[in-house]
Symmetry: D2
Subunit: 335 residues, 4 copies
């Protein structure tokens, strides 16, 4: 049994905490949240314990790993402390919006022998996983084109957009990671185009809500990503990988497998209404992968460096959008 | 070039005549119809010639084969004459509604060395053909269950139903033939249930418009057929064959391959609106098969005996419907 | 919070117990199994308590409802005791293989004011529920035909078949219930055909493994059911309801929504491999419905009489199979 | 009846000629080809007449319209002559590879009162037409993103690529036109990325075989196009239009609507093997539209200016590819 503590009893924290509680080889020992009442309610429901301070968790001998699901501005500090305390970490992305701060944490993490996983949970969606496996096994030959679609059902509040850093930093970032994961490559260049077509107010705060990007991979493969902040038909996330021997798709997943035939039409339910309903199971799969890593299994998982890589692509994309030129991407390695 | 004459310049006659005219290895030499004006119009359009009498066709040296697409009550006589004249024949089904009359023609045909093909054109639908090929090649192993769906868009006129002999004799008969063709077997027994749910007037003339049947094959395989005279969503014809190694389906064929995603729904066009639009290409494929038979190729095609077989099943089904018991089917072979 | 006890710590008992433990408004107070070790292991995992005897449960003031998931031959007795003790009951089907015994329990249950639900969990599958809702809301008009497909991935052990009463009593029975639930009718007559095509040994013990049935509804609607004990492509359960205004289908549910395009083919994953993987979520939905019934909500649920009804159809189907005639079905009402 | 003459008895010329011959309101009076034998064979098959010179056609009173399907380098001259002769024209694209030459013909055509249609036959594919209609009728609201996929089954010969001007000029050009047609806009800017991944020899002659483009529309809408010269699964052409109220797709069209379920897989036929098999019916639909234009119906059709527009986009795309910057597109109007 692996002893866990969790930072953050909000929406995502509750998801992780519930998954830990339900996992047959994990034990949720502590919950910490600056909102103590939220921590208490969650602890009561899951029969866990509230930690009175982060220090209580760092010094707890029965805590092997922590999940960081608190607000973004606390991630870097908690990561540093976890590294110091020798705890394994599952950290929601991003580590920090400041790239230099992320680099500093990545540098620190070099010292830690414990696994640190970044929460790119889409990698653990069963459909995407099956696509990844097909690609890795050579089912489609050499990858030549990747097409990624990311369309959220409705825009987040403006306040969120201002804090998150905008569409590329909070939405597209998952797909930057998927592009690298699927191709085993990191793009050398990105071109981005976009506009605020859904809501002019999003444009007023300096962001776009509708965008398309082209990434160039070192192998010559090309990657397209399209993003929207709003659909009328539900959450739309799709992957297509085209290669020298074939193509594989992670298609839209319908909410129900029913069809109504009437009046010369076939009417079927659309996809899952929101990203969370669509991707909820991937959080449990991601946690399970993390636990298997801790148990010593050979599992490839998203690392801090993968998180930084996606952020560097996002920054380059933003620059491209603003300057309307393709932008070369420079990566960074810890010393 | 194979010289053709056609009897019947009505709807189906026109379809066949047009296909003959367009076939690179066929020549439509004569058209005959008791309605001379109809024959003339068709002849003009297709640059063919009107025959003044059937005899002109029987004695024409440049007529190798005839298509019989005139009214049902003329089929048997024309077939006899064609056999006497040594012409190959493509005859629309049925030969005659009187079983004894059909047997008599089958007996006569024993004398003829020329191919006689009965118009079970569904066997030549490309999707159904591909299912047939998969089954024959053992892709699904030993056949255990066959499911056939036959739902017309709207009921024919009552006058037609009274002449045609009813649902089993004019609609289900194609599927009795498909069941035999797909399984390489003829059913030993049939059970039929049905009612006039679409239009009570159909019940008043002694027929049903909604029915289900179970056929038992000698191998133990079972076959289901469901029939309706009316849908609101277009013409619905499907085949499913289930066997020891798998299942193969000829699915609904949509009118257009487009999808509209809106308001949490996916809306797509239904199937082809009517049987003719759905099956139109199969008439050309059937004609081409007939021509290849005449050219000496090894092509399996529906024979007069196959037509009689389907009729005998229909008669047994009708008896079963009326007596509400399963009915054994006795087949007949020419001497 | 509703206090639960469960009888049976086997496969299905474990499923129910886990669902109770995870339900936010239920509390699993006791587990009983004649195999005490099994009960203990389950109790430890779910932090529940082992009951030393059924009586302990019947007299427990904190037990409001029981789930009966023990072996079939114990159902009737436990039901009687639960009725005496005033407990609500969720009982796995069947109540008993002896029809007279079932009637006797139904009669007793007339005395009980507490809800008794029979475990027809397919009614709670989300896709089937959506089909049911469409039909009830008149989306397809008046029901004219129902087509139900039930194909298990592999035959159960012969020993199970001998105890369960065979294909109609253990497999088709769920679909007899679905037919009634979907149409709001009970069939007046059934015709059944079948054979042991999958495994002759199944025939040797007097059962069939491949079968087709036609049910006649009082309204004139017809219902087809086909059953197989084996597929090579996974668990195949489908519903199609055809009516005067349209058709609605609960389609095959694919294991993954991915497609591989290669070598002129599209290859996609088949359906869920087994009935349990396909229907697992319906057990939780069924439990939730039961809890909502206990909370006083208006929820239509499968009753003891529904269970008896399905069994009476199964008995008539068996008679039909043996005598090869359609058999009228007589229902029974408690005094 | 509209009298037609055709220039070119090659592959596409034969397609057009056959469609004219089959059209009930058209008459194919003359065929001209520098290869007289080809013209004679086609004329014999279609019962038409060989013209001994273009002049014979220009002066023929019974020729109302001509189809130009000869080699590209003859298009501009024939167009000029047709304009002089007062004939209506259906001209295969492009008018000429030299933009200035095209402009000059467009300028001349200003004088002609007769319709001149450019052969963007994809606009007449039934699926694409239905998508176009949905968009024009506002079914998806305001267009925000267009995604176009164009993947040919195999690369043309190197010799063709050298003559045609490369991927953007011979393949993508159809999709530049579709983008404009679907959005009722012409892009203001294009960014193109590409490489020779399929065959290095294509790179050696200065072209790419794998490419992605982003077009910016005046409204802010974005358009993605991806191109490949090779698939292993057949011809892949798809359209997706995403708007403020929904999304509509012209999906892959499968060769057959059959599915084989076996070994936990569903195997279905891929799309049509090549562009011609997929798009063949659109040539007849395009011809029919042209004839309806000649008959005075209000039909929107692709004009010489539309052809020039697509070429100007292609030139800008090529510049973008070479310079790796987005390139603004300047259009041209005749005086």
């Amino acid at each position: 049994m692996i002893g866990f503590a969790i930072f953050g009893a909000g929406f995502i924290g509750t998801v992780h905490a519930t998954n830990i509680a339900a996992h047959p080889r994990a034990h949720l020992r502590y919950i910490y949240d600056v909102n103590r009442r939220a921590a208490e309610q969650l602890a009561q429901r899951l029969r866990s314990t509230v930690a009175s301070s982060p220090e209580e968790i760092w010094s707890a001998a029965d805590v092997d790993a922590v999940v960081i699901a608190s607000s973004t501005n606390t991630h870097a500090t908690l990561l540093s402390q976890a590294i110091q305390a020798g705890k394994a970490v599952y950290c929601e992305k991003p580590v920090d919006l400041e790239i230099e701060r992320v680099k500093s944490v990545v540098q620190e993490a070099r010292q830690s022998p414990r696994p640190i996983m970044i929460g790119f949970s889409r990698r653990f969606d069963r459909n995407h996983l099956a696509v990844h496996e097909a690609v890795q096994q050579g089912e489609i030959g050499k990858v030549e084109m990747v097409l990624l679609t990311s369309r959220a059902q409705e825009p987040p509040p403006l306040s969120y957009i201002q804090v998150s850093g905008g569409q590329f930093r909070d939405q597209t970032i998952h797909f930057f990671d998927l592009a690298c994961w699927l191709t085993n490559e990191a793009p050398v260049e990105v071109y981005a185009a976009g506009a605020a077509l859904v809501d002019p107010a999003i444009g007023d705060v300096g962001d776009v809500d509708t965008s398309m990007l082209i990434l160039k991979m070192p192998s010559g493969a090309l990657c397209h990503i399209d993003n929207s902040r709003r659909t009328t038909y539900g959450y739309d996330e799709r992957i297509e990988v085209f290669g020298s021997r074939g193509m594989v798709q992670s298609r839209l997943k319908p909410l129900r497998e029913i069809s109504l035939y009437r009046d010369h039409q076939v009417i079927s339910p659309g996809p899952y209404p929101s990203w969370f309903e669509r991707l909820e199971p991937s959080f449990a799969t991601a946690l399970d992968a993390f636990i298997r890593v801790l148990e010593g299994q050979q599992v490839v998982y998203p690392t801090l460096l993968d998180g930084l890589r996606a952020q560097l692509i996002a920054e380059a994309a933003l620059l491209s959008l603003r300057q309307n030129v393709p932008v070369k991407i420079t990566y960074w390695q810890p010393a």
